[in-house]
Structure formats: structure tokens, C-alpha cells
């Protein structure tokens, strides 16, 4: 028993060391970006290991909001990302469920075709995609971009939902049937809540696909009033003579909502209220 306690202490200590080391590794480059945001006159690099730059200031942060339409980009991006998240969760949770639970004609082909959509280098898709969106009058519209982003995020989300549903025993639905629920009710009341971790991943992934995407947005949104954050950020970068201070500050701010979203969703990602308690 003593030996057991010792190995537990050792394991926990080792775990903390591992977490500390990886946290430092994860943090250092991000700290560098914070550092860039504090430097005056657009210095991307520094020749020393200093953690806080000489004559640091928050001028870049205030400039973002006073001199640039950063708030507008933020609102646009938030709207688009949340719409894509909702669409992603709604479509992937239902579609993934069908792929996990039922057998139907074209199921394997369907699953494979989801992957197929991801295999093509995006570079070559830009021209036909643009031609198509022009025909559909979806250039310079949020509908166009929401559809594009949902289509980008869905394959992973569906596969991921399907994978998670696969780990939920089918006996639960049978139990539900005995209790008098119909197929849809068992799905919504029993299976859906159990898949909370997968829904969190789906939501995060959909959000991130919209929040960070640049190439498609640059081709579709050619009106500055519609600009999203990645487009705004890119406008700080020009071939020679980028505004690295603003870029750094904007990058720091852009990161915060993602971390907050992740933390607030984490409750369901790692909650104990999952299969363990139900399966018993």
C-alpha cells in the first residue's frame, strides 16, 4: 500500500512537470507575439531574449479600436463563426448519428465521399468556386461564406460525431424503445446528451474554421464593410513594411475568444456526467 502511494505521488509530480514544460513550450511563442504587440514602431523580431520590450506600450491596442475598424471585423467574424458553429452542430450531429446507427445504401460511399472533399488542394478550387458563386450571386454575401465554411467544417464534424456515437452502446436505444420512446426521441433525449464531448469538439472546430479562414474570405468578401478578422489582420501585412505592432495586438485579442470559448465548453468536454455513469 505504501509503495502504491509512493508511485501515485511520483506519477502526480511527473505529471505536473510534464504539464509545466509543455505549458512553457506552448506559451513562449505566444508570449513573443504579445511582446511584438507591445513594441513601438513595428518590430517583428528582437535581437535579445528580453521578456518585456524596452519602452513597451499598449498604444497598438488602442490604435486597433480608434484608428481601425477592428470592432467591426470582430462583430462580422463573430456573427459568421457562430452561424457556422450552429449549422455545423445541427447538421453534423444528425448526419453522424445516421452514419453510426443505421445501415443504408451508399453509407460507405457517403462516408468516403466526405473525406474525398478534403483531399483536393484548395489552391485549385478557388477559380471554379468563385465562378460558381458569381453565378449564384453569392459573392460579397455572408450566405456565400457561411455555406463555404460549413462545407469545409462538416466532413470532419460528421466523421467525428459518428466516431463518438460508435462508442455509445446500442443497448441504450433499446432501453429507450422499451420505455416507449420513438427513434427520434431516443436520439434527442438519450444519445444526444451523452455525445456532449463530441458536440463540443464539433462546435470548436466549426468555430475555428470560420474564425481563422483567410483564402476563401479574401476571394468572396470584396467589400471592406463585410471584412472578417483574418482579412483585417492581413491588411496590416504588406509586402515590405508591415504593421507588426498592430498585427501582434490583433492576434492577441483574436486568440482570447477562442480560449474563452474553449474553457466554457470544456465543462462538457471533460464532464464526469457521461457514459461512465450511464453505462453502469
Amino acid at each position: 500500500m505504501v509503495r502504491r502511494k509512493n508511485t501515485t505521488t511520483l506519477r502526480i509530480t511527473a505529471s505536473y512537470v510534464v504539464l509545466m514544460v509543455f505549458s512553457l513550450v506552448a506559451l513562449y511563442p505566444v508570449w513573443q507575439i504579445f511582446n511584438i504587440s507591445l513594441r513601438p514602431s513595428d518590430r517583428l523580431l528582437s535581437t535579445s531574449l528580453e521578456l518585456i520590450p524596452a519602452n513597451a506600450s499598449f498604444g497598438n491596442y488602442s490604435a486597433l479600436f480608434t484608428e481601425r475598424p477592428f470592432l467591426l471585423w470582430m462583430l462580422n467574424s463573430t456573427f459568421i463563426a457562430l452561424t457556422v458553429t450552429l449549422t455545423g452542430v445541427a447538421l453534423a450531429s444528425t448526419c453522424g448519428y445516421a452514419f453510426s446507427r443505421y445501415s443504408f445504401i451508399g453509407k460507405k460511399i457517403g462516408l468516403l465521399s466526405l473525406l474525398v472533399t478534403q483531399m483536393f488542394p484548395a489552391t485549385m478550387l478557388l477559380l471554379p468556386m468563385y465562378i460558381m458563386l458569381v453565378q449564384l450571386h453569392l459573392v460579397n454575401s455572408y450566405l456565400g461564406i457561411v455555406i463555404m465554411y460549413s462545407a469545409t467544417a462538416l466532413p470532419f464534424c460528421i466523421w467525428q460525431m459518428k466516431g463518438y456515437y460508435d462508442t455509445i452502446p446500442t443497448s441504450l436505444e433499446e432501453a429507450g424503445k422499451i420505455d416507449g420512446c420513438n427513434e427520434f426521441q431516443t436520439f434527442v433525449r438519450i444519445i444526444f446528451p451523452l455525445a456532449a464531448p463530441a458536440l463540443v469538439i464539433t462546435a470548436l472546430f466549426s468555430f475555428m474554421s470560420a474564425w481563422t479562414e483567410y483564402v476563401v474570405a479574401a476571394q468572396i468578401l470584396q467589400d471592406t464593410e463585410l471584412w472578417t478578422l483574418p482579412l483585417g489582420l492581413k491588411s496590416f501585412e504588406s509586402n515590405m513594411g508591415s504593421e507588426w505592432g498592430l498585427y501582434g495586438a490583433a492576434s492577441v485579442i483574436v486568440t482570447i475568444p477562442v480560449v474563452v470559448l474553449f474553457l466554457s465548453l470544456s465543462r462538457w468536454l471533460v464532464s464526469g456526467l457521461t457514459l461512465g455513469s450511464v453505462k453502469e
Binding site: I12, L45, L115, P128, M132, T167
Partner: protein, 301 residues
């Protein structure tokens, strides 16, 4: 009974159709457009009057001498993909396991910090890494020389070192995603399985090998499959960290060829053919991997 199956079909259709309508509405036209382009001679001189010429562009993909060599770049792309995925998955699952222990305090803080590489905008972070790899002023060499007394490495001037540098950067960027997936996947494992094996006195390795890994597989396999596809085609990081292929165009992936062909040299037909080749490589990989990992099957069936 018949109405039962009809209703069932409607139900299935409603579950599956919306996602597929969105997806294929967007993908099908560009896809076929590309197949046509790949069989055409569309380039700078034939941008509007292009015509179908057959498989000429495909032959060029495999036989045209290129700088750097097509097959070398293909090999590098494979190494890049395998090494990245290996570290993403191993680090991601490992950190998820460490974070999932109930004794650890401050999990939220660690989770928040560890997810940062995924959350931060890629362009600036890639350029920051490039700066960190600078021979004289980069923090990596400064740390090596000042703290460990190891001579600095000329990261960006030699092909192997530059390749390692881009891989390090991408491993850093990619592990949080796999960690998040693995954290979710771990929740699907019933606690009683562990308790039962504790009573049997099973070692942690035994539990990892026989409980944890098999049970997170259904969630991890799609992430790994798609992770492979994305990494294979991930132009950005390599392009930014190596500053478009430094040193001397040695640091490229196959997609760099597509990008350069289409955007620098206006060779759209060739670029489309190369895209199709990449597509088939990934298709063969996915089919094999899915068959081996039984991804389309339910674990409990």
C-alpha cells in the same frame, strides 16, 4: 409495415440530406471543373481559348524535370506528414491522459495554455518561429548557446535543418487539436472498466493497451485520417517558416508545386493535373487506412 420502412427512409433522409446538400452543392462543380482543367492546356497563353488535350499534363507531372525533383518532394511530403501526425497524436493523447487524471489541480489553466497554439493566428506565429530559428538572433540558438553551451545551429541555411525547423513549428501548432479530440474521446470510456482492471491488478500499460487505446480509436481514427490529409496539403507553415522554400527551394511540399504552377506561372492545366495526382495519393491512403482501422464499423458491433 410498408409505411414503417417508408417513414424510416424519410427519417434517415432528413438526418443525412441537409449536410450532404450543403457539402456537394459546394464541392461538386469545382471538382468536375478541375478534372476538365487537368485534361486541358489552360495556361498563360491559352487562358480563354483552352481546349482538351488528353493526359499530357499528367505525363508532365511524372516526367517533366522539375526543380526540385518531383519524387524527392513527394518523399519529403510523406516524411513531413508521417512525422507530424506521429507527434501530433502521441503528444496530444499523452497530454490528454495526463490532464485527465483526477488528482491534477488547475486543469483549466493548463488546458487554456495548452490550447493556445491552436487558437493563435498562424501567420504571425509562423513568422515568429522563423525569427526564433535565426542563426545569430533567434531565441532558440541564444538559449542553446547561453544556457546549454551548445553551438548554434544554422537552421535556415541547410536543407535538413530547415526541414526539421518547419516540422518543429507544425508539431507545435498541431498537438493541441489532437489533445482536444483525445480529451473528448477519453470521456467515452466507462469508469468501471478501469475499476475492474484495478481489482485484477493490471499495470497502467495493460490498461492503456487494452482499454484506453481501443476505446478512443473510433474518435481518433477520423481525426488521424483527416489530419493526414490536411497535413499533406498544408502549404502555409512550410511556406512561411522557410520563406517560400529556403534554402534554395529545398523545403517544399507537393502542394507548393500546385501553388507555384497556378499562381506564379499561370499553368492552370498542369496545376489541376497535379492536384488530381495528389487527390489520388490521398484517396489510396484513406481507403487503405480505413480498411485497416475499421473506421466505418461500430466498436460494439
Amino acid at each position: 409495415m410498408q409505411s414503417q420502412t417508408l417513414r424510416h427512409r424519410i427519417y434517415l433522409f432528413i438526418l443525412v440530406a441537409p449536410a450532404f446538400v450543403v457539402l456537394f452543392g459546394v464541392v461538386i462543380y469545382p471538382f468536375f471543373y478541375n478534372i476538365v482543367l487537368s485534361l486541358s492546356n489552360m495556361n498563360l497563353r491559352h487562358i480563354r481559348d483552352w481546349r482538351i488535350i488528353g493526359f499530357g499534363q499528367y505525363i508532365k507531372v511524372f516526367t517533366e524535370p522539375s526543380q526540385p525533383d518531383f519524387y524527392v518532394v513527394f518523399l519529403k511530403t510523406v516524411i513531413w506528414t508521417v512525422v507530424n501526425l506521429f507527434f501530433h497524436v502521441v503528444l496530444g493523447v499523452f497530454l490528454a491522459l495526463v490532464l485527465n487524471q483526477k488528482e491534477i489541480r488547475g486543469k483549466a489553466i493548463f488546458r487554456a495554455i495548452l490550447v493556445l497554439p491552436w487558437a493563435v493566428p498562424q501567420l504571425i506565429v509562423a513568422l515568429t518561429w522563423r525569427g526564433m530559428f535565426n542563426y545569430e538572433y533567434g531565441s532558440i540558438n541564444l538559449m542553446l548557446t547561453q544556457w546549454f553551451n551548445i553551438p548554434g545551429v544554422q537552421w535556415l541555411r541547410h536543407p535538413l535543418e530547415a526541414f526539421i525547423a518547419v516540422i518543429i513549428t507544425n508539431v507545435w501548432l498541431g498537438f493541441p487539436f489532437m489533445m482536444v479530440i483525445a480529451l473528448g474521446a477519453l470521456q467515452s470510456i466507462p469508469h468501471d472498466l478501469y475499476e475492474a482492471s484495478d481489482i485484477d491488478g493490471a499495470s497502467w500499460y495493460h490498461k492503456l493497451r487494452h482499454i484506453t487505446l481501443p476505446l478512443i480509436r473510433p474518435v481518433m481514427v477520423p481525426a488521424i485520417t483527416l489530419g493526414t490529409i490536411w497535413t499533406f496539403n498544408n502549404l502555409n507553415i512550410v511556406w512561411l517558416v522557410s520563406n517560400a522554400g529556403e534554402p534554395s527551394d529545398q523545403t517544399h511540399l507537393l502542394v507548393s508545386f500546385v501553388y507555384k504552377a497556378a499562381f506564379n506561372f499561370y499553368r492552370y492545366g498542369y496545376g489541376a493535373a497535379l492536384s488530381m495526382v495528389i487527390f489520388f495519393i490521398l484517396l489510396v491512403f484513406s481507403l487503405t487506412f480505413m480498411r485497416k482501422s475499421k473506421a466505418t464499423q461500430n466498436v460494439y458491433s
